[in-house]
């Protein structure tokens, strides 16, 4: 085995794994607080890529991606707040019996709506913002400047998210809600408002992934499909609801796909992650960092 090639595959897998973990983090964070799966996560990723492209192509100019990125996240955060307030909050306040089914139907309907809206508003064609940076080399791997920027920005966002959750009052409230939604209400926290914020933060993370990967993976209505797919794969590996699991799961998935590509064939890259996932679920059904549900 060529060590040089092996190192290239591993680095490539790690880079993409870290970036996909941003998406997984958004899914798992929303699940952790609201106890629902947002099936339209890929569409928020796609909207993030469209908003980023639109800002760069019309208002900011092609070089100012670093200004566009927080603006995109902010715009999608607001969209998330509105979506949660109008479409998802009713299932918590009206005592809907089958909450999971309600959330599944609403978010799948959103997925279809957003995809079709993208076709109507942006047309069916692909778009691509200009490259964020010149191509570079990461140790042995020649890498696009865009992906390098995406890696650094993802690490920065993960650090910010960690600080938000661990060091702030709102973070403490989020952690409390993740542990016990009823308990935190007895402490006087408005859990419905917390849900809204959690949904906004979760979809903003997906939008950041979409905006960062837009020059490499292009902007088009179905652009979010594969990242959703990876995101769900990662959270099942890492353990649903575990923030650490989503980061470790992302890195692990990238690594497994890379090693599978080296030792077998790159043509079946997406298969290796699934084989690992199935094996893991047999041994540890809760994923690497997931916990068994405890009810009283």
């Amino acid at each position: 085995m060529d060590a040089f090639l092996l190192s290239q595959y591993v680095l490539s897998g790690l880079v993409i794994g870290v970036i996909y973990s941003l998406m997984a983090l958004g899914i798992t964070f929303i699940y952790g607080i609201m106890k629902m799966i947002n099936w339209a996560m890929g569409e928020f990723y796609m909207i993030g890529s469209y908003v980023q492209y639109a800002l760069l192509a019309t208002v900011l100019g092609p070089g100012r991606w670093w200004i566009a990125l927080p603006l995109t996240m902010g715009a999608v955060f607001v969209l998330g707040l509105v979506t949660q307030r109008v479409l998802l909050r009713p299932m918590y306040v009206r005592g809907i019996e089958r909450r999971d089914e309600y959330a599944t139907i609403v978010t799948i309907a959103l997925m279809v709506l957003f995809r079709n809206l993208a076709v109507v508003l942006g047309g069916p064609n692909q778009y691509a913002p200009r490259d964020y940076a010149r191509p570079t080399t990461l140790l042995t791997l020649p890498i696009s400047g865009n992906r390098f920027v995406a890696l650094i920005a993802t690490l920065a966002l993960l650090a910010l998210f960690y600080l938000l959750v661990k060091r702030t009052w709102i973070g403490t409230a989020f952690r409390g809600a993740a542990q016990n939604r009823v308990g935190i209400q007895t402490a006087g926290v408005d859990v419905l408002r917390l849900d809204m914020l959690a949904f906004g933060v979760g979809v903003a993370l997906a939008a950041a992934a979409g905006a960062l990967l837009a020059p490499d993976f292009l902007v088009y209505p179905e652009g979010g499909a594969i990242s959703t797919f990876k995101g769900f794969e990662i959270i099942v590996i890492g353990g649903l609801g575990s923030i650490l699991g989503s980061v470790v799961g992302g890195v692990l998935l990238g690594l497994i796909e890379a090693l599978g590509s080296v030792f077998f064939s790159a043509a079946y890259k997406d298969l290796y992650g699934f084989v690992f996932l199935i094996g893991l679920l047999v041994i540890r059904p809760t994923g690497l960092f997931g916990e068994r549900e405890r009810t009283v």
């Binding site: 490539s12 691509a128 200009r130 890498i143 997406d270």
Partner: protein, 406 residues
């Protein structure tokens, strides 16, 4: 009594005559509907579908301006989106056949969709035309209602094998999507490498059409050190391969051939920037080509309307509608069986030559093939009209230019 009978008969005859008089103009006004079933949204190659629709609409306008078909009836196009997926294609075809009563369907772009709808065409007895679907199996099945005015994949592979031999490439890698088109092209390449005595080594790598990160596949190919990479993606994957091959420093150091005419489209440079420089691609039309009077009139009008040169999809969409109009007039009927007979018996003016359909052997069944050219962009933002033809030798205006070594 007898007088009453006579009166009743006279009234009936007069009523019938009056009825025919009233109904006949109404019938004459009934439009003849032709379906355009083509990809207009992802995951299909939506840009391709848009060009086909442009050409078809301009053709319908031309035919209607000349007095229509079948003694003055207008052609009405019914456009349906197949999204490049067989299931949507089948649903769209069913709607065109049963609800819209289309007399023929054009616009097929993706081979997997064409493969799914051609059985329905037999069932409903409606001719279906491949506008840019090239899998050989489409016409190899010898179905009565399937027609094609586009290249067949073995011919595509034959011409790139000739080019590989001429250029003396020694290691050729093919990166292909796992669709009917991609799989068919890979099989044909393997087969024809042997029969055509191509001396080069061949490596083929498949990928899922939905995948967006092709870095592992491209790294595998790069480590194999090819001297030519053939890009067999359709739509978005073509761009992804080009971008990511450039990112891992595989292209343009290694020349890349795109298997169809996507780089001829105006949005190519917008999506790729300078990463598109030095790409070679197969096309079926060049602006310097001499066209038929019908093709020339279309090209002039297209340039006036869209302020750009037409691409092949638009030309072929135009040609298929005009030849269907001619076939309807020749058949003097919109019935499927009569239309097929007329299509087989007549010769039609296409965009660059005369189109005729014969029932040949293998995939050459009800098939007409346009010319194929290899073109190369040699500088960023180069307009299609200025790109050089590098193959075949009898048409070439320049040689393959290698990217300078960095």
């Amino acid at each position: 009594m007898r007088r009453h009978r006579w009166l009743a008969s006279a009234v009936a005859v007069l009523t019938a005559i009056a009825g025919v008089g009233l109904v006949a103009p109404a019938l004459a006004q009934n439009p003849v509907k032709i379906g355009v079933l083509t990809p207009l949204s992802p995951p299909g190659d939506a840009a391709a579908g848009q060009f086909i629709v442009r050409g078809a609409k301009m053709a319908a306008d031309d035919v209607n301006a000349r007095g229509g078909v079948l003694g003055g009836r207008k052609i009405e196009l019914v456009v349906e989106d197949d999204s490049g997926t067989p299931e949507k294609g089948v649903a769209g075809f069913r709607k065109l056949a049963s609800q819209d009563r289309a007399v023929a369907v054009i616009g097929q772009f993706h081979s997997s969709v064409m493969g799914a709808v051609q059985d329905l065409a037999e069932q409903f007895k409606i001719p279906v035309f491949s506008t840019q679907a090239s899998a050989k199996g489409i016409t190899e099945r010898h179905l009565a209602y399937t027609f094609r005015t586009h290249v067949i994949d073995p011919d595509r592979v034959t011409i790139w094998n000739r080019w590989i031999k001429q250029q003396g490439f020694k290691r050729v890698a093919v990166l292909a999507e796992n669709t009917d088109y991609g799989v068919g092209v890979v099989e044909d390449t393997k087969k024809l490498f042997k029969t055509m005595d191509v001396a080069a080594e061949l490596k083929t790598v498949m990928f899922d059409r939905a995948v967006v990160d092709l870095t592992p596949q491209l790294l595998e190919i790069k480590s194999w050190k090819p001297d030519l990479l053939i890009n067999v993606g359709v739509g978005t994957p073509v761009y992804l391969i080009l971008k990511q091959a450039s990112d891992v420093a595989l292209f343009p150091a290694t020349p890349m051939l795109v298997s169809y005419d996507l780089p001829a489209r105006p949005e190519f440079w917008k999506n790729l920037g300078e990463k598109g420089t030095y790409v070679t691609f197969i096309t079926y039309y060049h602006p310097t080509m001499k066209l038929t009077p019908r093709g020339e009139a279309f090209r002039t009008k297209y340039r006036e309307q869209f302020k750009e040169d037409p691409v092949y999809g638009a030309l072929n969409g135009y040609a298929q509608i005009t030849l269907l109009a001619d076939a309807l007039n020749a058949a003097r009927s919109e019935a499927g069986e009569s239309l097929v007979k007329a299509l087989l018996a007549s010769k039609f003016e296409g965009w660059n030559g005369t189109i005729s359909f014969t029932r040949g052997e293998g995939p050459y069944w009800q098939q007409w093939t346009p010319p194929m050219l290899f073109m190369q962009y040699t500088r960023p933002e180069q307009v299609f009209t200025e790109a050089k033809i590098i193959f075949p030798p009898e048409l070439k205006t320049g040689d393959l230019l290698m990217a300078p070594k960095k």
